[in-house]
């Protein structure tokens, strides 16, 4: 059998061409344009300005730096807030509980909704005066818990993490359940005979056996976190002030105001961060493949 005849390379043509031209090329061009003064008024005339955009990002008083910080913070915290509860919920459901299928279907449901919809919905629910959350708290006589969920500087990030978890926990949980369902019961029985308690079983049986699910959740979670836009744009639009601004919201603002060079510079910084994270993850994956 001639391999090049039955597995022709032209099968690769369409996806590779599309991916290279409409996904990768813009990123590479972006690196180039990030060193220019490209803007909406330049009418095709674009000048090289060296590191000026980057200097502006790192030194100006416009708080771009805190935007970068927020992106990293969101990535770390949103994952912790989703992964840990999801793991325990998955263990609970996997241990056998009546109505498991129904619980799983319901908890997964929010993650299929568009972020825009979730954002609009929660601007209503989190409304201070007549939003559902404060009304429910009032109804339960828990008035002291009422908050200005989206406008109080001390609360707004917690609201965002809450909404993000509302959407994501079921999804993460479903992936964990898949991993858990492959662990043979006998492993736990053996651990129990050896006198292992819940935490020891978790540490020495469960976690090593579901490393695949953990990995998938981390990859999806981290890449989502670094690129987060929709939910913040719709819920707070970066506010109050610039308190919840992230890289992508700044990048969109700069684009809207015609400062294309600056916008691509911010995007290039994000590209760099994701590239570093990506290399670490892919290295880890290929190591796992070799081990098998």
């Amino acid at each position: 059998m001639k391999k090049n005849k039955i597995y022709p390379m032209w099968f690769l043509l369409v996806p590779l061409a599309l991916y290279s031209v409409f996904f990768l090329l813009p990123s590479i061009l972006g690196i180039g344009y990030s060193f220019t003064d490209w803007n909406s008024r330049s009418m095709g005339e674009v000048n090289f300005v060296g590191l000026e955009n980057y200097i502006e990002i790192f030194t100006s008083d416009k708080d771009y730096l805190s935007g970068i910080g927020h992106t990293l913070m969101f990535t770390v915290i949103s994952n912790i807030v989703k992964l840990i509860p999801a793991l325990f919920l998955a263990i609970m459901l996997n241990e056998g509980i009546r109505g498991k299928g129904l619980y799983r279907t319901l908890l997964y449901l929010p993650s299929i909704l568009p972020y825009v919809i979730i954002g609009i919905l929660f601007t209503s629910i989190l409304n201070y005066n007549n939003g559902m959350l404060n009304s429910v708290l009032e109804f339960l006589h828990l008035d002291f818990l009422k908050q200005k969920w989206l406008s109080d500087l001390n609360v707004v990030w917690k609201s965002i993490f809450g909404v993000d978890a509302w959407r994501g926990v079921g999804y993460v949980m479903t992936i964990f359940i898949a991993g858990l369902s492959t662990i043979p019961r006998s492993y736990y029985e053996a651990a129990q005979i050896d006198g292992a308690n819940f935490w020891q079983r978790l540490r020495y049986v469960t976690l090593p056996m579901i490393s695949g699910s953990v990995m998938i959740n981390l990859v999806f979670g981290i890449t989502y976190g670094l690129k987060v836009f929709d939910i913040i744009y719709v819920l707070t639009n970066g506010g109050p002030g610039h308190a919840t601004e992230v890289i992508t919201t700044y990048s969109y603002q700069l684009y809207s105001s015609g400062q294309y060079g600056m916008s691509t510079a911010l995007n290039t910084i994000l590209l760099l961060i994701t590239a570093v994270v990506g290399v670490l993850i892919v290295k880890n994956m290929s190591k796992q493949e070799v081990q098998q």
Binding site: M1, M9, F11, L25, S27, P114, V116, I125, S211
Partner: protein, 273 residues
């Protein structure tokens, strides 16, 4: 034994509370979408005093929802079809011919799983192809963006399809195209369905791409139409909620029909390890 009982009850209580937290917002949306403006503004969970079914017809007319629906359908349907099938063809060759070039190309495509899209320069690239503000341009962008995920998922799956099938088909005189479409594709059905459903829902929900790339309202998908409508009618929660219901029905339907494949697909990667 009693301790176990109490634990089981506590588990159910926790689960029911969590499910309530999920279901209540859905209920809030549906119930308020049938109220009058004044009633909906109070945002409570009681039934409407009078069911306003006209909210829906009003929203469909005002919110340009039919156009949005058709646009979303074109974007999601066409790009997913091209993206999944072409990725499957590429994954097939990459998986069967493990040359150095192919493994390089595989990791080259995989980069796309992590990188952000640079929409600013992307709009420039679209411009050089005369695709600015066109449906074709938006479809191409969506297709390109889903290729890394599809290649990643499908290539893993193809390794489990026995090579003997290929050999038998070639002995029977099959060329590469008929080998792929007649023999391999049917074997890949589950993973192709998974990719199709996940990506379809992904494109349907996407907001960033049309936000950057469509400046004409004629091109808006449903998500953009809803967002615009929300911006223009901030106080008409009855309409906004009706709009939300109509936007969500398609994805919820796709989810309920394809649930088996979503969960199966999410898990295939996880279980493989």
């Amino acid at each position: 034994m009693t301790k176990k009982r109490i634990l089981a009850v506590l588990k159910h209580v926790l689960m029911i509370l969590l499910c309530l937290a999920v279901v209540l917002p859905f209920y809030l949306v549906v119930i308020n979408s049938f109220k009058t403006k004044g009633e909906a503004a109070r945002m409570n969970l009681s039934l409407p005093t009078e069911w306003q079914f006209s909210n829906y017809t009003e929203v469909i007319r005002k919110g340009k929802l039919i156009q949005g629906f058709l646009n979303s359908l074109i974007y999601a349907g066409v790009s997913t079809l091209i993206g999944v099938i072409s990725s499957a063809m590429a994954s097939f060759v990459m998986s069967r011919r493990r040359t150095k070039v192919n493994s390089f190309l595989y990791y080259f495509v995989l980069c796309g799983l992590f990188f952000p899209v640079n929409y600013v320069t992307l709009s420039r690239v679209l411009g050089t192809f005369q695709l600015t503000n066109t449906k074709a341009g938006i479809v191409i962008v969506f297709t390109s963006a889903m290729i890394p995920f599809c290649v990643f998922t499908i290539r893993n799956f193809i390794s489990s399809v026995p090579v003997e099938l290929d050999e038998a088909a070639v002995l029977d005189g099959a060329g590469p195209l008929s080998l792929f479409f007649r023999v391999i594709m049917p074997m890949l059905k589950p993973v192709l369905f998974t990719c199709f459903i996940l990506q379809f829902m992904g494109v349907w929900s996407d907001f960033l791409t049309p936000l950057y790339l469509s400046s004409k309202s004629k091109l808006f998908p449903m998500t953009m139409a809803v967002y615009q409508f929300f911006g223009k009618n901030t106080n008409y929660w009855n309409y906004i909620f009706a709009d939300i219901v109509l936007t969500c029905i398609p994805v919820i339907l796709v989810y309920l029909i394809g649930q088996k494949y979503i969960i199966g697909g999410l898990t295939s990667g996880a279980v493989k390890e």
